[in-house]
């Protein structure tokens, strides 16, 4: 890793890229969380301003600054995404490992639950849960958290099952390793990267779904700045040529999702022994 001659290998490039992406996402999160609601207050004297020096992303039908609303909305989305994927991944880890290790009836039951959740359109399930809990922040969060675990559960279960029957794991037992040692030295290092990548790749899903149900009117309420709310409002005005209301929030949402996705894919490459040393 010779920084002076700018001959970075893939590993360094990926690391630099990941740090930049993380700074962007963390910046939006912190900016949004610390933002004073007065900053994007209603001001009818400046409604429907196109993007310009005063308002980079323009203003909406109530004269609110779109840039600040976007940042605030996206930071809410990121919080929901993080909490939802942490909860989902815990469910997935517990269910997946238990299914693979205990087997039998429990395994069938977990598989049945996974099939049940995956057999239903994801968004419908999400809507039902959110609606049942009275919409708002709580409804969205519980809804997103409870519907994102099935895929990851499958992955974790398959990984644990596969590695348990690997020849080198069997050989390790015969060479005198204990169950704990094998779990720590062979199984965990194999499952953990797959699991962590799964968690990171859950973020974009969770954020997307939060925005979707809010857009459809079953999520966060209209006065809260959320990307979904902003996008659904913009639909009313896009026909009259107010393009900036949809374009910039859309781009920011897309950018956040693609960055998370890219971080996940990069980690996959770094942790994979076949591509980690390029």
């Amino acid at each position: 890793m010779d920084r002076k001659r700018i001959q970075w290998n893939t590993r360094t490039k990926i690391l630099v890229y990941m740090v930049l992406a993380l700074i962007y996402l963390a910046g939006i999160l912190v900016w949004g969380l610390l933002m004073d609601p007065e900053a994007y207050a209603v001001d009818y004297s400046v409604k429907f301003l196109p993007p310009g020096a005063g308002h980079l992303f323009g203003t909406d039908f109530m004269g609110r600054d779109m840039l600040l609303r976007c940042v605030k909305g996206l930071s809410t989305s990121i919080v929901i995404g993080v909490i939802a994927s942490v909860v989902s991944s815990f469910i997935a880890l517990a269910a997946g490992v238990a299914a693979a290790v205990v087997g039998g009836k429990l395994d069938s039951f977990v598989n049945w639950c996974v099939d049940l959740c995956m057999g239903m359109p994801h968004l419908v399930l999400l809507l039902l849960i959110s609606f049942m809990l009275g919409r708002g922040m709580k409804g969205v969060m519980v809804g997103v958290a409870l519907t994102h675990w099935p895929e990851l559960t499958r992955i974790v279960r398959a990984e644990v099952l596969q590695i348990r029957s690997e020849q080198y794991v069997q050989a390790a037992y015969r060479l005198g390793k204990s169950r704990m040692q094998v779990a720590r030295e062979h199984i965990l290092p194999h499952v953990l990267p797959v699991y962590l990548i799964g968690v990171i790749l859950l973020f974009p899903h969770a954020i997307m779904h939060e925005a979707s149900i809010t857009f459809l009117g079953f999520g966060l309420s209209a006065e809260e700045p959320a990307i979904g709310v902003i996008l659904s409002e913009s639909m009313k005005h896009i026909a009259t040529g107010k393009w900036w209301l949809a374009l910039f929030p859309g781009i920011m949402l897309l950018a956040a999702i693609m960055l998370f996705d890219r971080i996940g894919e990069d980690l996959k490459r770094l942790w994979n022994p076949d591509s980690g040393n390029e």
Binding site: Y168, L175, G176, H190, P273
Partner: protein, 211 residues
Amino acid sequence: MGRCAVSMQLEARHISYRYGKDRPWILRDVDLTVRAGERVALVGPSGYGKSTLAKILAGYIQPEEGEVLWDGRPLPKKGSCPVQMISQHPEKAVDPRWKMARIVNEGWQVDGQTLQDMGIEREWLKRWPSELSGGELQRFCIARVLGPGTKFLICDEISTMLDVITQAQIWQKVLEAAKKGHLGMIVVTHNMALAEKVCEKIIELPALTAR
């Protein structure tokens, strides 16, 4: 194959095995006794249960009926096993996330003499398994199981995927190591010529009528 009074021997008693309750028997009532220092070949066509028997004898899988005894006692479930197996696929028998130095020392601290005997170059120790060939990996797998606790080797087609020259080299080294440690050996192979060359006794697995 009656039971001998000699203490150090690997003994299989009435071994039966099948893959699943409603599947046909792969092995039915197999008896086998091999003394320490003795070399026996197991031959037979594909699908006759040679590899399955090898795995049972090394304790990788438990027989449905019967038992495997070493020195008159069942194989230990915990700790280093006196009966070790070398498999047909060395690339599957090593953890792809470990470097060779860690892999070869998993069971015991391999000494320089063993590495030299096996023809392992120092430089290979720093590599990942994906950076070595099958024959090179197989040497590591053999060195790995030659620890002081090992009394018996089960070689399950260990040279099938190698070219003839490497095969000859590997067998020469395995036989040297076996002589040095007075190890008993069971050699699973398709190759009659190899069986005759390497072993003192050849056992053919019978076909099961149920198949």
